[in-house]
């Protein structure tokens, strides 16, 4: 029966995407317990709606859209707590890299970039994380944030400008040598 097939297929969806969706939620909430709750909720919602999803739909982008919606609702509900938390987070970054991997990242630059990202307005931050941490297409980010592809790109670029400004003087760029 169709239903049984849909269920098997959904098992595969969970297997393929749960870890990444949770990682995305961890990046945007900075709390493992929130990432646990919201990632579960994302997939429970997805399960209820899965059969209505058109064939050939991009399941991954659709899951990001659900997670993004839940994340934004969560931020609205938690905004007060979050503001109080942000003050603590400045001294004690949670969700920060446990250690730098590959390329060595100066501690100061790392703390700064995280602080700037954390301080970005909601849509810019979400768009930035979706694009730069998870490689989503601008059209998919637009669908998640209920805006156009162009707006999604503008959010990401605006985030980049703020990061660049926030890191001014902390970027490891040598000055040009003159000939």
């Amino acid at each position: 029966m169709g239903r049984v097939m849909a269920e098997d297929a959904f098992e595969a969806v969970v297997g393929a995407h749960h870890a990444e969706i949770r990682r995305y939620l961890l990046r945007i909430t900075a709390r493992a317990s929130d990432a646990d709750d919201l990632s579960q909720e994302t997939f429970l919602r997805a399960f209820r709606a899965y059969r209505a999803l058109p064939e050939g739909a991009n399941v991954r982008a659709w899951l990001f859209a659900i997670a993004t919606n839940l994340g934004r609702n969560h931020f609205r509900a938690q905004s007060r707590r979050r503001r109080a938390y942000a003050a603590v987070a400045q001294e004690m970054p949670v969700g920060a890299p446990a250690h730098a991997d590959g390329q060595v990242m100066a501690d100061e630059a790392r703390v700064r970039i995280e602080r700037v990202i954390d301080g970005l307005p909601g849509k810019q931050r979400l768009a930035f994380v979706m694009r730069k941490m998870h490689d989503l297409e601008y059209a998919e980010i637009g669908a998640s944030l209920h805006c156009s592809e162009e707006s999604a790109r503008a959010h990401v670029f605006q985030a980049l400008r703020k990061i660049r400004r926030g890191l001014d003087g902390h970027l490891a760029v040598g000055t040009e040598s003159h000939s």
Partner: protein
């Protein structure tokens, strides 16, 4: 940025794209051409490339708390729970009007006669639960079998049933005893009460069958009043009961605003016996309906596994058709 010359303002988005590895070849060439002659944009490009390097390092660095094991295990449990509670239903036409068929992953959970409009009442929606999904594909195979059944082309519905919506253990026992009634055989409410070892509970049996979540599938239409009157069905729709019984070869004749099964026209089986009789055999006619099962035809009695009585010989002396 407002102080930048127009060319630099124009190139800036391309510069961001190229630094982030996003620009196409044309954008790359444009940026290349511009920074070859513009020192401040060259600086900007270097800065944005450095930002991109930091972003990349952030991306590949292990995240604190990045362990999905617990969330995954909890999700698996919650999905299993949701699945088992979730009903998928379809609404289909049938010879008896629109029918709703609902199933969970445990089995068929609900069959309901709908008004001709096919509308769902608030009470029915509540019964389906908040997570119910209208998904005809989940139940259309069941519907096809049900239509065969209603047209007399199928005598069994071997469906897995989800009986978790039972109101009580008593109701479960009533429905199980009712489900055991053979195709084409009828008994009384008191007969079901006797079968579950509660002979005085005829009224409670009728009440339990009133809330049968699976009419047709659990054949409560085979349970009638002790006088042979069909009594109630699906609210006040006794005519449905009469039609279901007619499909199974049980005739109920209309008399005084009711339908009645005439015992004298039915082959009769005594509880505990393996042989069926004509209704006048021995003392059968003085027995209460509760200890009997009545069949409209010999074929039905024999299909249910019973053999003709060796003294009244219904095979040699059948009832007038």
């Amino acid at each position: 940025m407002n102080r930048l010359p127009a060319d630099c303002r124009e190139i800036e988005p391309y510069l961001l794209a190229v630094a982030g590895g996003e620009g196409d070849r044309q954008a790359a060439r444009r940026v290349e051409g511009h920074v070859a002659t513009c020192r401040s944009c060259r600086e900007e490009l270097r800065h944005y490339r450095a930002v991109d390097g930091l972003v990349h390092a952030l991306r590949v660095a292990p995240l604190r708390g990045d362990d999905a094991t617990l969330a995954h295990a909890q999700l698996t449990t919650r999905l299993a729970d949701l699945r088992s509670r979730m009903v998928s239903f379809g609404i289909f036409p049938s010879p008896l009007g629109p029918l709703l068929i609902g199933r969970s992953d445990q089995g068929v959970a609900l069959v309901r006669y709908l008004p001709p409009s096919g509308a769902l009442s608030a009470q029915l929606r509540a019964q389906l639960g908040a997570d119910a999904i209208e998904d005809p594909t989940a139940t259309e195979a069941l519907w096809a079998e049900l239509v065969e059944y209603l047209e007399g082309r199928r005598a069994r519905l071997d469906w897995p049933l989800d009986l978790r919506r039972m109101r009580s253990d008593f109701q479960r026992r009533v429905l199980e005893a009712t489900a055991a009634l053979p195709y084409g055989g009828v008994t009384s409410y008191a007969g079901i009460a006797a079968r579950i070892g509660a002979p005085a509970a005829g009224r409670a049996v009728a009440q339990a069958l009133r809330w049968n979540p699976l009419p047709i599938v659990i054949p409560c239409h085979r349970v009638i009043g002790s006088t042979g009157a069909l009594v109630g069905y699906a609210g006040k729709r006794v005519e449905l009961k009469q039609r279901l019984l007619a499909v199974e070869g049980v005739k109920a004749v209309a008399a005084h605003h009711e339908f009645r099964v005439r015992r004298e026209a039915m082959y009769t089986l005594m509880a505990g016996e393996r042989e069926y009789c004509v209704p006048t055999c021995g003392s059968l006619s003085s027995q209460p309906l509760s200890v009997l099962t009545l069949f409209g035809t010999r074929e039905r009695a024999e299909a249910a596994g019973f053999t003709p009585c060796s003294s009244c010989r219904p095979d040699l002396h059948p009832l007038p058709a």
